[in-house]
Structures are given as structure tokens and as C-alpha cells.
């Protein structure tokens, strides 16, 4: 059986657990779900209609089976606040979230790679210690506070970037980029701090190996050894972790979308929570979690591809 199929089958139980946990979490809400969703001043007939629509009078196990069946078919239900299919709402917002997460990752990689290599080549020098201290500080700064500081600096004091909102890539690529810069920097800063430590540690580890000494011993230039030998080996774990962090960035976008008023999946989830639209909440949570699980799977596959020593046989 091909590796991709075997790994996909292996991830299926995790996806099932994710779906089950999501279903259970939103079933244990104390009180009548229909009443909670419609509010205390809702008319009894509306509450009764919603109860019937959700099948709340039927056993939980039947509802669970039905929900799973619909999920497999891509039917995530209909939002009570938007009066639209949740799958449609999510599809509209997914490009925003993916744009932010990928841009943040790009920023993190572009900054952390050279910084990590410079720090490793000058290990324990003032430059290295500054990079280490900076990364420690970067890890401590909450992404949403970084977002607020960027807004204060580059949208208010120096009005270079827009304060809020989003423009689709297809309608105006330049404006799309302008609206993404600050959210991507805010989200990418923390990841940069984490990645720079990893790049440094990984390069430092490789620099101390015998094959590097041999390469230098036979007269190869330092820069050549670094580029052709050290980086190729050092970047395997970095690539893996960077891909894995893309999944975490999906979680991070929830809060950054709120700071910058981006109409993404995270904002949809939060609006679902604020308006007690549990169908939206359930759908958004499952989609984000399944994307997270599939990203982890693709990292596994990528890892096996990049490093031939790793097999899943």
C-alpha cells in the first residue's frame, strides 16, 4: 500500500477523536442548547422549532451518528445567525486565514534562517548572545500585544499600513499585501523567535561533526562547507518543525484576526461563540482541527521524503 494511503489511514482515528471531542464539548453545555442559542427572550415556538431542527428530543448517540455522517459528506449544518450553510461560510473565510498563516511562516523562515546561521557561526559571541536574548524576549511577547504595538507604530504614528480589514488577492494584489504585512509580522515574530533557536542549535550541532572537520581538512572554503554540507543536514529538522508550526499558526490566526479585523476562520469562530451560534462553532473547530491533523500528516510525509534515513515500514 502506498505510504500516503497508509498514513492517511493512520490519521483517521485522530480525526475521529477530534470530531468526537468537538461534538461532546458542545453537548455538555449546561441548560437547553436551543434556548441558549436563541437567547432568553426568544419565543417558545422558535425554541421548540430549533429543538426539533437539531433533534434535541432524540438520543445523543443518534445525533452523534447523524452529525458524523453529515461531516463526512461535507455538510456542517446551517448557521442560525448567518442563515447560510456553515461549509459555505468557512469556504469564504479560509483564504484569509491561510494567507495570514503562510505569510507569517514565510516571514519567520526568511528572518530566522540567516540569523540562526550567523549566531551558530559565532557561538557564544556578543552577536550570538544578543540573538539568544532577543529570541527569549520574542517568545515572551504575546502575538496580540505585538499586533497592537504594530498598529500603534505603523498604522497610527506612521500611517504606512491600513488599520483594519482585508482585500482579496484577486481584486487587488497590492492592497492584499499591504493588509497582510502587519498581521503576518505580529504572528510571525513569535515563530521567528522559536525557529531562530532551532536553526542555531541545529547548525551548531552539525558544525561540530567529523565530516565538517574532514571537509575543512581537505581545504574546502568555510562558506562552501556551510552551504553544501552543513545547511543541507541542519535544515532537515528545521524544515520539519517549520511545517509543524504552520499548524500552530492556524491557532494563532484566531486572535490575530481579531486584532486586525480580518474576516477569517478564527473571527468566524469567535463571532459564533459571541452569538452562541454553536453550529458555526462546531464547524469551524472541526475544520481547523482537521487541517491541523492533516498538516501534521504532510509533515510526516515530507520528513520521510527529505531524510531518506526515515522510513515508516
Amino acid at each position: 500500500m502506498p505510504l500516503v494511503i497508509r498514513r492517511l489511514l493512520a490519521v483517521a482515528p485522530t480525526v475521529l477523536v477530534v470530531a468526537t471531542v468537538t461534538f461532546i464539548a458542545l453537548q455538555v453545555i449546561p441548560g437547553d442548547i436551543a434556548q441558549i442559542m436563541l437567547g432568553t427572550d426568544a419565543r417558545p415556538e422558535d425554541v421548540a422549532r430549533l429543538r426539533q431542527e437539531f433533534g434535541l428530543d432524540r438520543p445523543v448517540i443518534v445525533r452523534y451518528a447523524e452529525w458524523l455522517g453529515n461531516l463526512v459528506r461535507g455538510n456542517l449544518g446551517t448557521s442560525i445567525s448567518y442563515h447560510e450553510p456553515v461549509a459555505h461560510l468557512i469556504a469564504q473565510r479560509l483564504p484569509v486565514t491561510i494567507s495570514v498563516a503562510f505569510s507569517a511562516m514565510l516571514i519567520a523562515i526568511v528572518i530566522s534562517l540567516p540569523l540562526g546561521v550567523i549566531a551558530a557561526r559565532q557561538a557564544w559571541s556578543p552577536v550570538d548572545l544578543t540573538v539568544l536574548a532577543g529570541s527569549q524576549l520574542g517568545l515572551a511577547v504575546p502575538t496580540f500585544w505585538m499586533g497592537i504595538l504594530l498598529l500603534l507604530g505603523f498604522a497610527a504614528a506612521l500611517p504606512i499600513f491600513p488599520l483594519q480589514g482585508y482585500v482579496a488577492l484577486a481584486s487587488n494584489p497590492l492592497e492584499w499585501g499591504r493588509h497582510l504585512v502587519l498581521p503576518a509580522v505580529a504572528l510571525g515574530a513569535e515563530r521567528t523567535a522559536a525557529l531562530v533557536r532551532l536553526v542555531r542549535a541545529s547548525v551548531l550541532d552539525e558544525l561540530n561533526r567529523d565530516y565538517v572537520r574532514t571537509a575543512r581538512g581537505k581545504g574546502l572554503a568555510g562558506a562552501f562547507v556551510l552551504r553544501r554540507h552543513v545547511l543541507r543536514n541542519a535544515l532537515v529538522p528545521v524544515l520539519t518543525v517549520a511545517s509543524l508550526q504552520l499548524g500552530y499558526l492556524l491557532g494563532g490566526t484566531i486572535i490575530i484576526e481579531q486584532v486586525f479585523g480580518l474576516p477569517g476562520l478564527g473571527r468566524l469562530l469567535l463571532q459564533g461563540i459571541y452569538s452562541r451560534d454553536l453550529v458555526v462553532v462546531q464547524g469551524a473547530v472541526v475544520v481547523i482541527a482537521v487541517m491541523f491533523a492533516l498538516l501534521n500528516l504532510s509533515v510526516d510525509l515530507l520528513y520521510a521524503r527529505v531524510d531518506p534515513r526515515i522510513t515508516y515500514d
Binding site: 480525526v15 477523536v17 500585544w145
Partner: protein
Amino acid sequence: MALTEQHPWRAMPAAPVVVPPRRRRANLPLIIGGTLVCLIAGFSILAPVLTSYDPAAIDPAHRLTPPGPGHLLGTDRLGRDVLTRILYGGRIAVAVGLVAVVIGAGGGVTIGLMSGYRAGRLDALLMRVVDGLMAFPALLLAIMVVAALGPGHIQTMAAIGVVLIPVFARLARAQTLAVRGQEFVLAARALGAKDTSIVLSHILPNIAGPLLIQSTVAFSGAVLAEASLSYLGLGTQPPTPSWGGMLQEARDVLFVGPWMAIWPGVAIAAAVLGWNLLGDGLRDLLDPRLRHGAT
């Protein structure tokens, strides 16, 4: 014997190590981290002594007062003293962190110990559930729990505690698996000790070091998560002061009262930095392999 060779530093717990004086260096992360943590905890506890303002008292006459002699860090849009709210907000951060870590470590270590010690079907089942929980981005899982339980700092403690369970469970299981076959465990079993006694009296003390380090890291994560949830309006609810909640309130007056958006963020970053450094310092202190390192 083979097992003790694999982990000699765990098998010989109390052997004193002679380290040449020239290699001894001050454990800076431990000192800086410990100082920051003590300062934040101290300021929070002594808040009523350090400030005469009430953190919830509204004062319309002094709303959005810039930092100055009367209000060192200014006031918010309801005229409340920002410094006072930061000091009292520290209490929430410390309390949420503490309770969340107790829930996460309590639940996770219990699952990890059972899973690692018993192995077999129970291990497989528990680890599938743990994998499922780990398949959620942490903030998403916390948001989902809060969505189910409703907003508030008690619910936030529970939500963050649930998020921490899988990490502790994985760590405790891995450590238990490494220790369970060692000679001191086999000796205790040969002497007729019960499973509960072996786990609690022999295995747990031997895996406590890594769990303690993880607890400090988890604490910084909990402070960050509480601030994030409160910023989203799902954590600590007004008028109770919390650092994340203060940043949320600052959002509406960002350009007329920027001080409101700066100092609570500094407090969060200082707390997270403190706990992270403390974790790094403890790791250096408790892991002899690092303590011997020439670098």
C-alpha cells in the same frame, strides 16, 4: 545492567559530582527568571499595600489621564488607575496559572503514570485520547472548552488545565517507561510492594525533575493563554482586572490612550519571560548532563 547503562544519571540519584571551580558559572536564567517571578508574585500579593486606589472604582473626572504624578501609568477610559489594575491583574494571572498547572499536571501525570506503568490496552486507549486532544491547536481547545462552559476566570482555569493535560501525560508516560524496568523498581516489586506504592513512592520521585521543569513552562503558557482568552472576551470578565482584559479595553481607545495598551503587555511579557527563564534555569540545575557541559 543494560538499563542502568542507558540512563546512568537517573539510576544513581544522590551521587555528588565534583565540578572544577573554573567551570562553575552563575545560573543566570535561574537568577533572572526567579527574580522576575518573585517580583510579580510579590507585587500581586502586596497590591493593597503598594497602591491606595481601588482597581474597580470608576472615576469619570480622571478618565484617560496620561501617566503622571497622580497616576504613574495613567488611567483607563473609566478613570481607573492602570498601575493598580496591573498589580491586581497579576493576582488573576498567578491564580489562573497555578490552578491550571495543578489541573493539567494532576490529570496528565495520573494518566501518564497509569499508561506508562500498565502499558498494554489501557496505554493504547489513553494515548489515542491524548493524541486526539493534541490534535487541536492549544488556543482552539481552550476556546472550545470556554465556549462550552461559558466565560469567566474559573472556567478559564479549567479550560487551560484541560489543554495542559496531554503534554503532562505524554511526558509522564515517556519518563515512566524509561524508569519502570530499572533495578530499583524491580527490587521494590521483588520485596512485595504494591503497584500504587511502587508508582507513588519509587517512580514518581524519580521522574519529578522533568515534570517540575515542564510545570514552569506550562505556567508561562497558562499566563499567556489566560491573557489571550481575556483579550478575546472569553476569560476573566470585567470589572475584575486581568492583563488580557485590559488590552481588550485599550483596543477601543488605542489612539487616545496608548499607555493603556502598553503596560499590561509589558506585564504579560515579563511574567512569561520570568517563567520561561526559570524553566531553563531549572533544567540546567536538574539535568547533570547540561551541568557538566563544557560549553
